[in-house]
C-alpha cells in the first residue's frame, strides 16, 4: 500500500466521523486535561478495584522494604516530606495555551530526584491522603489510582530519564530532555492504563441485557479518550514542569540531581535491564491492542464466560452462557456510526501517537546531542 493511498483512506475514514462527535470529543478532551487523572469511585467495579489493590501490594511492600534497607531511619521523614511536596504540586496551576490551566502530578520529578521507589511510595501517600481527606479520587479505587500515578508514572519516567541521560553528567542538557520525555510519555502511558481500566468494564460487568454497570465505554472509546488529551496536553504539562524544574535544579543545586546519578544507585538501573522483558511486554501489549480492535470478536477484555471463570472472576453475569448467542448483537451495534468511528479514531490515535512520539524523541536526541561532548564512558 502506497503512503498516499493510506493517507486517502485515513481521510475518508475521518470524514465519516459525525461532526458532533468530533466537537464533543474536542470539548471533552480539553475539559479532561484540566483535571488530574484521579478515578472516582463508581467508574470501576469492586472486582477491578480489588485486583488493582492486590497488584499494588508488592510495590508497596518491596518499596517500603527497599527504603528501610537503603535509608533506614531516614526514610520516614524523607518520604513524608516528598509526599507532602507531591500533594502541593498537584495543586499548582500550570498555564497552558488557550488561557486555561492544568495540573501536574509531580511523580516524574520525584522519581528523577530520589529514585522510583521513594517516588512511588510518596505519590501513593499523597493519593491516599487526597482520597480520604480531600475527596479527590475514590477510596475503593486507591489501588487503581496508585497503579497509574504512583507506579507507571514514576517507574516509566525514571526508566526513560535514565535511558536518555543516565550516562551523561548532571549538568548535561540531555538531563532536561530526558526529564521532559520521561514526564510526558510516562503520564501518557499512565493515561493509557486508566483507559484500559475503564474500557474493560462494559465487557466484564453488565446487566443481563448488556447494559454496562460501570464506566460505559469499550476500550475503543476509553483508550483514545484518555490517551489523546494526555498525549497532547496533560502529558506535555507534566513533561514541561519536570524539565523546567530539572533545569532549575541544575542551576541551583546540582547535588540534588546526583542522588539518582550515584554509582551505588546506578546499579538500580540494572534492575531495569532485568526488567527489560517487562517493558518489552508492555510495548507489545500497547501495540497489540489496536490489532485486537480489527477483529471485534476477540478484542482485549471481551472474553467469553468460560474464560472469565478461568480468570477467577466471581462476577460473571448469570446467564451469560445463554446470552453468548446474543453477544454478537451488541457488537454488531458497534458498527453504528458513532462507535464504529471511535474505534477507528483509536487506531488512528495509536498510530499517530506512536509516530509522533518516535519523531519527537528522535528530534530531541539529535538536537540536544549535536555539539555536545560524547558520554564520558559507556557502562556495559
Amino acid at each position: 500500500m502506497s503512503p498516499s493511498s493510506v493517507y486517502q483512506s485515513v481521510q475518508v475514514l475521518f470524514r465519516k466521523i459525525p461532526n458532533w462527535v468530533k466537537i464533543y470529543y474536542a470539548a471533552l478532551g480539553i475539559w479532561l486535561t484540566t483535571t488530574a487523572m484521579h478515578i472516582p469511585d463508581g467508574y470501576l467495579s469492586p472486582a477491578t478495584c480489588a485486583v488493582m489493590f492486590v497488584v499494588m501490594l508488592p510495590f508497596w511492600y518491596f518499596g517500603l522494604k527497599k527504603l528501610r534497607e537503603k535509608l533506614n531511619a531516614r526514610s520516614a521523614p524523607l518520604v513524608a516530606l516528598l509526599a507532602a511536596f507531591c500533594f502541593i504540586i498537584m495543586m499548582f496551576n500550570v498555564p497552558i495555551p488557550g488561557g486555561t490551566t492544568a495540573h501536574a502530578v509531580g511523580g516524574a520529578l520525584a522519581a528523577i530526584i530520589l529514585g522510583p521507589e521513594v517516588a512511588s511510595i510518596a505519590v501513593s501517600i499523597a493519593l491516599i491522603i487526597q482520597a480520604f481527606f480531600f475527596g479527590d479520587g475514590g477510596i475503593l479505587c486507591i489501588g487503581a489510582n496508585c497503579f497509574n500515578m504512583a507506579v507507571v508514572l514514576p517507574y516509566v519516567s525514571y526508566a526513560i530519564y535514565q535511558a536518555i541521560s543516565g550516562k551523561f553528567p548532571v549538568q548535561s542538557r540531555r538531563r532536561v530532555a530526558g526529564a521532559f520525555l520521561g514526564g510526558w510519555l510516562a503520564l501518557t502511558l499512565a493515561a493509557f492504563f486508566a483507559g484500559v481500566e475503564f474500557g474493560i468494564q462494559p465487557a466484564l460487568f453488565h446487566t443481563a441485557d448488556g447494559t454496562p454497570l460501570y464506566a460505559p465505554y469499550p476500550l475503543s472509546v476509553s483508550i483514545p479518550g484518555m490517551v489523546i488529551p494526555h498525549l497532547l496536553i496533560a502529558g506535555v504539562v507534566e513533561g514541561l514542569i519536570t524539565a523546567l524544574v530539572v533545569a532549575y535544579v541544575q542551576r541551583t543545586n546540582q547535588a540534588a540531581l546526583e542522588v539518582t546519578a550515584q554509582p551505588a544507585l546506578a546499579a538500580e538501573v540494572g534492575t531495569f535491564r532485568r526488567l527489560r522483558l517487562l517493558w518489552i511486554g508492555l510495548a507489545v501489549l500497547i501495540l497489540a491492542t489496536p490489532l485486537g480492535l480489527l477483529a471485534p470478536g476477540t478484542a482485549w477484555g471481551e472474553w467469553g464466560s468460560d474464560e472469565l471463570t478461568g480468570r477467577g472472576l466471581a462476577f460473571v453475569p448469570q446467564g451469560l452462557k445463554q446470552l453468548e448467542g446474543l453477544w454478537g448483537a451488541p457488537l454488531a451495534g458497534y458498527d453504528l456510526p458513532a462507535l464504529g468511528n471511535s474505534s477507528l479514531g483509536y487506531i488512528l490515535s495509536a498510530a499517530v501517537g506512536i509516530v509522533v512520539i518516535g519523531i519527537v524523541a528522535w528530534l530531541f536526541t539529535v538536537l540536544l546531542t549535536s555539539g555536545r561532548p560524547p558520554a564520558p564512558k559507556e557502562q556495559a
Binding site: 484521579h38 463508581g42 500550570v94 491522603i129 481527606f133 454496562p212 514541561l240
Partner: protein
C-alpha cells in the same frame, strides 16, 4: 477533579498566581471546615473510628456491587440519613456532590445515552435516539459515583485527621506507613503555608500581567525551591527525631476502646450494607 467547597468569588479570568493561591487557601479552609464538623456532636463523630472506617467501606462496597438502581437510591438515602444524624449541614452535603457531578461524570455519561446499543427510548432529530440501556447505564454511573463520593465526604467530614490515620491500622496498614501518613499530613500544612507565602510575596511584587512563558518559568523555580526546602526540612526533621530517641521503629498510640454503642451501630450499619448487597445482587 477537585470539587470546591468554597464558592469562587471572582468570576473574571484570574492569573495563575491568584488561581493557585485560591486553591491553596481552599485546601486549608476545607480541612478547617472538616475539623469543625468532626468536633460536633453526632452519630458518626461518636463512633469508634475503626468501626466508622469499616462501616463506610462496607457501604462503599455495597454501592460498588449493586446491580439495581433502586438499591443505589436506597444507599444514597442511607448516606443522607447518616449525614443528617451526624449534624452535617445538609445543603452543603447535597450541593458538594451534585454541584460538580454534571461537569465531570455528567459530561462523560452523556454520549453513553446515545451510543449504547438497544431499543430507543426517546427519538431525537438528526437520527439520534436515547436508548433504554443508554439511559440505564448513565443513571448507574451518576448514582454510583455520587453515592460513593457522598460516603467519602461523610467519612472525611466526621473524623479528625489524626484519628482517621490511627484507625487505618485496623485495615492492616503497617505502622511505618501510618507514621509516614501522619507526618505527611502534618507537613502538608507547613508546605501549604510556605507555598502560600511564596505566591503572596510574588503577587505583591508584580504590577502587570505576566506572560504564560514567564509564569511557567517562575512556577518551575518555585517548585524547585519548594523541593529544596522539603528535602532540607526532611533532614532537619530526621535529626530532631533522632535527638528525641527515634531509631527507625514506628509506634502509634492506640487508645481506642469499643463501647456497646460502637458495637450496636457497627453491627447495624454492616447489616444495612449486607442487606443492600443482597438486595442489589
Amino acid at each position: 477533579m477537585s470539587s470546591g467547597t468554597v464558592p469562587r468569588l471572582h468570576r473574571r479570568r484570574r492569573s495563575l498566581l491568584e488561581k493557585t493561591l485560591a486553591d491553596l487557601t481552599q485546601a486549608l479552609e476545607q480541612s478547617l471546615f472538616a475539623e469543625d464538623i468532626a468536633r460536633q456532636r453526632g452519630l458518626l463523630q461518636a463512633l469508634d473510628p475503626r468501626v466508622k472506617v469499616i462501616s463506610i467501606l462496607a457501604l462503599l462496597i455495597a454501592v460498588g456491587l449493586s446491580r439495581s438502581l433502586p438499591v443505589l437510591l436506597g444507599l444514597y438515602g442511607v448516606a443522607l440519613v447518616l449525614a443528617w444524624w451526624s449534624a452535617v449541614p445538609m445543603g452543603f452535603f447535597i450541593k458538594r456532590v451534585w454541584l460538580f457531578m454534571p461537569f465531570f461524570t455528567g459530561v462523560i455519561a452523556v454520549p453513553a445515552l446515545f451510543v449504547t446499543p438497544g431499543p430507543a427510548l426517546v427519538a431525537l432529530p438528526l437520527g439520534l435516539a436515547i436508548t433504554r440501556p443508554g439511559a440505564t447505564t448513565a443513571l448507574f454511573l451518576l448514582l454510583r459515583v455520587s453515592t460513593s463520593v457522598s460516603l467519602g465526604v461523610l467519612l472525611m467530614l466526621t473524623t479528625a485527621w489524626a484519628t482517621l490515620l490511627k484507625a487505618l491500622s485496623v485495615l492492616r496498614v503497617p505502622e511505618g506507613f501510618i507514621l509516614i501518613l501522619g507526618m505527611t499530613y502534618r507537613y502538608i500544612f507547613l508546605l501549604l503555608l510556605t507555598a502560600e507565602d511564596m505566591f503572596l510575596s510574588r503577587k505583591s511584587r508584580i504590577v502587570g500581567r505576566m506572560t504564560s512563558a514567564d509564569e511557567r518559568q517562575w512556577l518551575a523555580a518555585s517548585i524547585g525551591t519548594l523541593l529544596d526546602k522539603s528535602l532540607h526540612l526532611s533532614s532537619e526533621v530526621y535529626l530532631a527525631m533522632q535527638a528525641r530517641g527515634y531509631r527507625g521503629q514506628a509506634r502509634t498510640l492506640d487508645t481506642f476502646r469499643m463501647s456497646v454503642h460502637d458495637w450496636l451501630w457497627g453491627v447495624a450499619i454492616l447489616g444495612v450494607a449486607a442487606g443492600m448487597i443482597w438486595l442489589g445482587r
